[in-house]
């Protein structure tokens, strides 16, 4: 029997077997990674199991079960990851933690993929009552991905400050509206890293290829090219800072759970996508609820905007092995916890 969440309470053997037996292609290896993550993500508390079990009963294919869990329990109002009855074991800092161990001024950094924010731009243009919404008309009416990229670039290169100021204001208004009970589907959790750790690896001033930024936070954008911005903000503005779990990522194959011996305060550990040269250090990642990002956060981060000039590095086998090696070097008991990583 395979473990699920490092326990033997759920039996998903058939579905896990299907993923684990996939061939050694990129697609197959990603499926295997999903299976290994599900099996060994000890961070998912027993209290979260029934909801996931419900999704798995409805969708026997595990990747769909993970998508459903994400849609109904994560990307929703009152998400499981912020429910202290379900996820207290992953609360790192913030209002719900008894005593903050982390300095509330610790700067966090987020890479925002603007090219992925189609629905948010649509909301801003269609529903926002502010006159600045006209800025988003061409973005919303853009035909294909190339036209969208052009429309975004026109705004950013033209006057990034005015555009982003309007964008942040619209996002705040949208967030306010989506908090109304009965409103469907707010944004998913915000994924953030420690600004200092990010900068140790990437200097956005010299390195203006956003592909590097995404690789450093372990994300491969769907669109290429894509426009990205950086925002930096103190931990105190993030509400409750949470260590992410695999289901909180929606079953994202490029996620890698942190081992049981890694302290809670470290949060999750980003799997760096660039393996040439292989990453030398582990870096923390956290999630929190969407907050009202503001222009000052963008300015604090640089200010920087950039587009991806190449595809983000691929090759999940190499990426996972490189990350696994780092885990072995830094923590005890990794090979007992996850004997095989792909």
């Amino acid at each position: 029997m395979y473990p699920v969440f490092q326990r033997y309470t759920l039996n998903l053997d058939a579905a896990l077997d299907e993923l684990l037996r996939q061939p050694a292609t990129e697609a197959g290896l990603r499926n295997r990674a999903v299976a290994r993550n599900l099996m060994h993500d000890h961070r998912v508390s027993p209290a979260r199991e029934p909801a996931f079990q419900e999704c798995a009963a409805l969708h026997p294919a595990l990747r769909e079960a993970l998508q459903r869990y994400y849609d109904t329990r994560v990307r929703t109002s009152g998400p499981d990851f912020l429910n202290d009855a379900l996820n207290l074991n992953n609360f790192v800092a913030g209002a719900r933690v008894a005593v903050d161990k982390m300095d509330p001024n610790t700067p966090l950094l987020r890479v925002i993929n603007l090219s992925r924010e189609r629905a948010a731009f649509q909301w801003a243009y269609y529903e926002w009552s502010d006159r600045r919404k006209d800025r988003f008309r061409r973005i919303v009416n853009a035909g294909g991905a190339a036209e969208l990229h052009g429309a975004l670039g026109e705004q950013l290169v033209g006057n990034a400050e005015a555009f982003l100021d309007a964008w942040f204001a619209a996002s705040s208004a949208r967030r306010e509206r989506l908090r109304v009970p009965g409103a469907n589907k707010p944004d998913g959790p915000v994924w953030a890293v420690l600004a200092k750790e990010f900068r140790r690896e990437v200097n956005p001033r010299d390195d203006d290829d956003a592909a590097r930024w995404f690789e450093a936070v372990g994300v491969a954008p769907g669109d290429w090219p894509a426009w990205a911005i950086l925002v930096e903000y103190p931990l105190s503005e993030a509400g409750t800072l949470v260590r992410p779990t695999f289901p909180d990522s929606g079953g994202y194959p490029l996620h890698f759970p942190s081992p049981p011996s890694a302290p809670l305060s470290v949060g999750g550990l980003v799997m760096h996508l660039q393996t040439d040269p292989p990453p030398a250090v582990l870096r923390s990642e956290f999630i929190h609820e969407t907050i009202d990002f503001q222009l000052q956060h963008w300015i604090a981060a640089g200010p920087h905007y950039a587009e991806t000039k190449r595809l983000v590095a691929a090759g999940i086998q190499r990426q996972r092995l490189a990350h696994y090696k780092l885990l072995l070097r830094n923590y005890n008991g990794v090979s007992q916890w996850m004997p095989q990583c792909v």
Partner: protein, 373 residues
């Protein structure tokens, strides 16, 4: 025979999508499942991505694209014909409708999709339906705008552009403009709907008149029209339109070109250029457009001077905040230049025009100028 898709996120979706589209007996319910966000298998890459984005992105970009777009559109028609706005067997019907409308809006298959989308619009059953807090009527409008094989919806878009309510279809004036802009000639010639475009631009010129950035906004609209119908909106087109529709004076600053050669020694110029050259030579006035603000002239000896001055003025005219600021800066620039072959008397004329515009500015903005002094 189709090649095996690559082992990449794109390839995984293509491996799923293309055989399905190739199959004439395909199970149409699969599209519903995809629009719900399920049934992607390996291709499930980003849980935050809306399904329509994923489907559109992975259509092959080459010569087969139109064929696959048509097939996808035909399956969308199957779904639209089942009246999904009234009843839909899905976990989240609003998500499906949102994705269906966006998908239809992006497929270039107006002749296939127009009628079923219009039938859905006529049923007027989307009030109160929302997804991601976006009114679904905005999305059906998007789909309708981008699926117009003809001009049947012209009155709808004109009403919207004029700020009049349209039953079952909320929208602002610029949405009406977008609707007109995306109408097509039913004969498929690619010819623009001239009259409707002229009317909607006239309507918007009136609306924008009170706006601080009216010139900038109107200039954008003109460029969008030009972009939509390449080759049809050559330089004189907007002058003719402005002339026929009696656009207000400020729109002169938004027209991309107000200087063009129409024949040997014949030029269309902005009226201030005519003011400049008429004192240098006995310039012949051939035609007058836009209530006298644009003039066709014939010059003999001073063609080079006219061209040089007109190009400088054009640089400062286009997208200027006001006529006065455009001329103030343009005449100042000309006055500062000392060309060797500048004809006798030209500098004095420029200085005279500069002084005149300064006087005009004092009359218009006496307090600002006084405080600046």
């Amino acid at each position: 025979m189709r090649m095996t898709p690559p082992d990449t996120p794109s390839g995984w979706t293509q491996a799923l999508l293309l055989p399905w589209l190739d199959d004439p007996q395909r199970d149409e319910r699969q599209l519903l499942r995809w629009l719900e966000g399920y049934g992607y298998g390996d291709a499930l890459v980003d849980p935050n991505e809306e399904p329509y984005v994923r489907l559109l992105r992975e259509l092959p970009p080459g010569a087969d694209l139109p064929k696959y777009e048509r097939e996808l559109a035909r399956s969308a028609v199957g779904l639209l014909d089942s009246k999904p706005d009234l009843q839909l067997d899905a976990e989240d019907p609003d998500k499906v409708l949102y994705n269906l409308f966006r998908l239809c809006g992006h497929l270039r298959c107006a002749t296939i999709l127009a009628e079923p989308l219009r039938a859905l619009f006529r049923r007027n059953s989307l009030e109160g339906r929302r997804y991601l807090d976006i009114d679904l009527r905005h999305q059906i409008r998007f789909a309708l705008i981008h699926n117009q094989p003809d001009s049947s919806l012209e009155t709808v878009w004109m009403d919207m552009a004029a700020g009049r309510p349209v039953r079952g279809l909320p929208g602002v004036r610029l949405d009406g403009f977008e609707g007109i802009k995306c109408m097509q000639d039913p004969k498929g010639t690619g010819a623009p709907p001239w009259k409707a475009i002229a009317m909607v631009l006239t309507e918007l010129a009136g609306y924008l008149s009170k706006s601080v950035d009216k010139v900038e906004q109107f200039a954008h609209l003109l460029l969008e029209i030009r972009e939509r119908f390449p080759i049809h909106f050559d330089p004189p087109a907007f002058i003719v339109m402005s002339d026929e529709q009696h656009w207000p004076e400020w729109t002169d600053l938004a027209i991309p070109e107000l200087f063009l050669q129409t024949g040997p020694g014949r030029y269309i110029v902005w009226e201030p250029i005519y003011e400049f050259v008429k004192d240098l030579e006995n310039v012949q006035k051939l035609n007058s457009f836009c209530d006298g603000r644009v003039i066709e002239v014939r010059v003999r000896a001073i063609a080079k001077t006219l061209k040089r001055a007109a190009r400088v003025v054009e640089e400062f005219r286009y997208r200027a905040e006001s006529r006065e600021t455009a001329l103030m800066t343009a005449w100042s620039a000309l006055a500062a230049n000392q060309w060797d072959d500048w004809p006798k008397g030209a500098s004095e004329v420029v200085w005279r025009l500069l002084l005149r515009i300064r006087e005009d500015l004092v009359l218009v903005f006496p307090f600002e100028l006084a405080s600046a002094a």
